[in-house]
Symmetry: C2
Subunit: 189 residues, 2 copies
Amino acid sequence: MHPLLRDYFRKRTDADEHVLEKISPYFEERSFKRNEYVLREGEVCKHNYFIISGCMRLFTINKEGVENTRYFAFEGKFATCFTSLISGLPAFENIQSLEKTTVLRIHRDDFYYLVETEAAVNKVYRNIMESAYITTQRRIYDFQGADSLERVQWLLKHQPTILNRLSNKVVASYLGITPYTLSRLKAKL
Amino acid sequence: MHPLLRDYFRKRTDADEHVLEKISPYFEERSFKRNEYVLREGEVCKHNYFIISGCMRLFTINKEGVENTRYFAFEGKFATCFTSLISGLPAFENIQSLEKTTVLRIHRDDFYYLVETEAAVNKVYRNIMESAYITTQRRIYDFQGADSLERVQWLLKHQPTILNRLSNKVVASYLGITPYTLSRLKAKL
DNA sequence: TAAAAGCATTGCCCTATGGCAATGTTTTAA
DNA sequence: TTAAAACATTGCCATAGGGCAATGCTTTTA
């Protein structure tokens, strides 16, 4: 099992080496180029992706062509469109690599099989859901009613990596402001 | 077991009557007056609440005194501050009944004990998390970049009950707009 | 059942931010 | 290595929606 993934399980479960080796073969390594689409809106999401290196984002594009990003995943994190993975219905969002990215991916059928049969995976899944839930709630609270400057400051405080590592364009689409406004605000900090 | 709660488990698990009767005693009935605080920011959330009748909301109040509502729970739904329930840390949000409300509440220790030991409760918990996750993602996508009118129309389409049953004040705090703007928009529909 | 408190509505003004356009900079790809 | 494409910056203007205040309505409670 890849050391990053091993760490992930070790931190969240008490799974021993035997269990980890049982889980390991369900994951397969894949690579994506910079800006490659991993999933497009309308497709059914078939995999859960564990990021070894690089970065991905989940986002939508509305009818006016405006992008709206809701999640960035860096090394050592899972990324997938859970809405589609859970329901088996077509995704309404896209997944895209933002850098050259290597992942370990697991097929949804295998993943949910392990959730049902391996306590460690059940626990990890619960943990992913709980974290995602908490993060998202926090974002709703912190962003709603906050003006542009407060949002940028929030990002600086909570996820500075995003601000340093990614383009203004995608950061702005995460903050719900225009790249123009973001550029103006950065000049003021 | 209360019929509403029984239905809840029946819809989401294959738990038989025996299991339900085992779970049932962990829940106790409570009542709240209209506008009563069930949990205040800073307190640790000790219970998960299943609503039999009435309605509750989860919300924060910022330093300027502006309220920000993120969730309304009506009959047949669970409501709790999961962030605090999961972590055991003080809640940063409030829970308040908006009508005379009757609930079945379960203590967090009992709840997580059952999550670990009763497959039906594990499944229900997973389901709650998954649903909450999906709902929240959807809200982020649908609200971010949407103007006031679009938000009201969204509510009319997805959760009309909220618009009919609750005051403009709390609805506005859910939509992230002022009661003034909501009033003006309603006049135009 | 009357007084008070709390909400809803609407007019007026003001500000933050969006949108466009012009210019400069960085990245990509041949 | 260079041309093209994509992105960033900044000035200018337009506008959605916030905030306040005045008025009227509804709900609470004593």
